[in-house]
């Protein structure tokens, strides 16, 4: 599904990632974990086209997608969410999700401004589609609230609903549980599993180990810009190198 091949990223002399490779299987939830500064977010930014890597390649379903901008990746079915949720704060919850359907609609500037019959029927379709994703995320009752006024946990759900509206085949989530309380985290875990069961491949960076061990099919561990280990949650929990990296080496 998604293959990271020998990615290296150097920021003005600092090597953030060095020769990182791994593959994400279709229909899996893959967790990327590691101590702070391991390069997890950098890796996400490279995969999602926000940074361009110094060297290495990213393949999506066998095709080289390195260096493609995020808007092209969205059309290829790859979306992401952000650690500090990036909502359209002045727009309503519903409108946020409607923007998510941008790639699934095509009415242009003139057609929209002249309100051609075609643009009107498309607008209906977008509106109905948005309702479906609001229901999925359980935030239908907040549809007409200005998203900037949402509590953090609801904002997170909105960001997920909005990303799902793109109808992606793969979804990358940057610390989805950050800022959530334990109850919200539990619900999030269920939601992510539901997303996987819809056939969407999920990759997530996360610090909440309980969540990661609970929902991930595979885990990749990064440390100081290198891949330290890869395996099932059980294998990772028993890996001595991983334990050392997290708890500090005992000489």
């Amino acid at each position: 599904m998604l293959e990271i091949s020998r990615i290296t990223q150097i920021f003005g002399g600092v090597t953030a990632l060095e020769d990182v490779s791994f593959a994400v299987k279709k229909g899996n939830i893959t967790g990327v974990i590691g101590p702070n500064g391991a390069g997890k977010t950098t890796l996400f930014n490279i995969i999602t086209g926000i940074y361009t890597q110094t060297s290495g390649t990213v393949f999506l379903e066998g095709k080289d997608i390195s260096g493609l901008p995020p808007e092209k990746l969205a059309r290829k079915g790859l979306v992401r969410t952000f650690q500090n949720i990036e909502l359209f704060g002045q727009m309503t919850v519903r409108e946020n999700v409607m923007v998510g359907m941008h790639t699934k609609s095509s009415c242009g500037m003139l057609s929209c401004a002249l309100k051609t019959p075609w643009s009107v029927s498309e607008e209906h379709r977008i509106r109905e589609g948005a309702v479906r994703w609001l229901e999925f995320a359980g935030i239908t009752d907040l549809a007409d609230v200005t998203s900037g006024n949402l509590p953090f946990g609801k904002g997170r759900l909105l960001e997920i609903a909005r990303a799902l509206a793109v109808e992606p085949t793969i979804m990358l989530m940057d610390e989805p549980a950050a800022g959530l309380n334990s109850q919200e985290t539990l619900a999030l875990g269920l939601l992510i599993k539901q997303i996987r069961d819809m056939g969407i491949t999920v990759v997530l960076v996360e610090h909440d180990m309980e969540l990661v061990m609970d929902i991930c099919d595979r885990i990749v561990v990064l440390n100081l810009g290198r891949k330290l280990a890869e395996g099932t949650p059980r294998e990772i929990q028993e890996n001595t190198e991983v334990i050392a990296a997290y708890l500090g080496e005992d000489d």
Partner: protein, 319 residues
């Protein structure tokens, strides 16, 4: 959606009936300018209020529309109805080509680049004397005609200009409540999130910049044909700033706010004439107060004010 249609209906009826109330010649002339400025403010608001991109060069696009139309009709005897769309196409094409490099800039840098653009255009108007008549202006621009009607009086011009203005209002309202309008507002709030969701933000910014320039050019052509005379002084940096003020005072992102801003800034100087030499101080003071106490613009500030007054009235009623 129904509410938008109702708002537009009420607005259109008020516009059509206004001449019955203010049939005095001079005020009609001022109201023609309110119409032209409303078009310009709406055009700029699409860019600034929706997409969050600033332009300090819109007087330049306004001027280009006026001059291209003026020169083609006055010097080359074109039919104004052909000159106006040609001017719009030329200005649109220019904005599209310039838009790609300059809209890569953000914030202050974009302001500087568009400011430079406006200044260059202004210099061209002044210096190409053979073409534009230079600082003393270009005269002899014909009025528009429709069948046997020539738009040569204030009342006729009022209906001509406001006919176009109403079309632009409807156009902008539709756009704001559409897929494209949402994408524009998304760019304003979080460009990176808009990109991740598949919005080609750089192209969209150039497109809205172009549309905004085309609307300004159309307003410019109409200005030239109603005034029958244009001079560079109308298209300088001052006017770009005035347009920006209209948009901010009226309410960023609001189509009807653009009208309120344009109306206030066009009418206020006329009413303040009575205050003679102090008019500019009152004018400046009012603008400062507005920005301080109504940061959302007239369109949001005035209803808020009424709500507050009403509530206070009710409370004192109980006491």
């Amino acid at each position: 959606m129904k509410r938008e249609l109702l708002k537009f209906g009420v607005f259109a009826i008020l516009v059509l009936l206004a001449p019955l109330l203010f049939s005095g010649g001079y005020l009609m002339n001022v109201l023609v300018f309110v119409g032209i400025n409303t078009m310009l403010a709406i055009g700029l608001n699409l860019l600034l209020g929706n997409a969050g991109q600033i332009s300090l060069g819109h007087a330049g696009f306004f001027g280009m529309g006026a001059y291209i139309s003026g020169i083609l009709t006055a010097t080359y005897a074109w039919n104004p109805w052909f000159a106006m769309p040609l001017a719009a196409v030329v200005v649109g094409l220019l904005a599209f080509l310039i838009g790609f490099p300059i809209l890569k800039l953000k914030g202050h840098y974009l302001a500087m680049a568009t400011l430079g653009l406006g200044i260059i255009v202004f210099i061209v108007f002044n210096e190409t004397v053979d073409l534009t008549g230079g600082p003393s202006g270009l005269s002899g621009i014909p009025n528009l005609t429709m069948g046997s009607v020539t738009f040569d009086s204030d009342v006729k011009n009022y209906y001509l200009i406001w006919g176009f203005t109403l079309m632009i209002v409807l156009f902008a309202v539709n756009l704001a409540n559409s897929r494209v309008g949402r994408a524009l507002r998304a760019v304003h709030d979080s460009e990176v999130a808009a990109k991740v969701l598949g919005v080609n933000t750089s192209l969209l910014k150039v497109q809205i910049f172009t549309l905004s320039a085309v609307i300004s050019s159309l307003a410019g052509s109409l200005y030239a044909h109603t005034m029958t005379f244009v001079a560079p002084a109308s298209f300088g940096f001052n006017f770009s700033v005035e347009l920006l003020t209209m948009v901010v005072i009226g309410g960023l992102g609001s189509v009807y706010g653009s009208f309120l801003g344009a109306a206030l800034l066009t009418l206020l100087p006329e009413f303040l004439r009575a205050a003679h030499d102090y008019d500019i101080i009152i004018y400046g003071g009012l603008l400062m107060l507005m920005v301080m106490f109504m940061p959302g613009g007239l369109v949001r500030g005035v209803p808020d004010l009424f709500r507050k007054l009403f509530r206070r009235g009710k409370e004192s009623g109980h006491a």
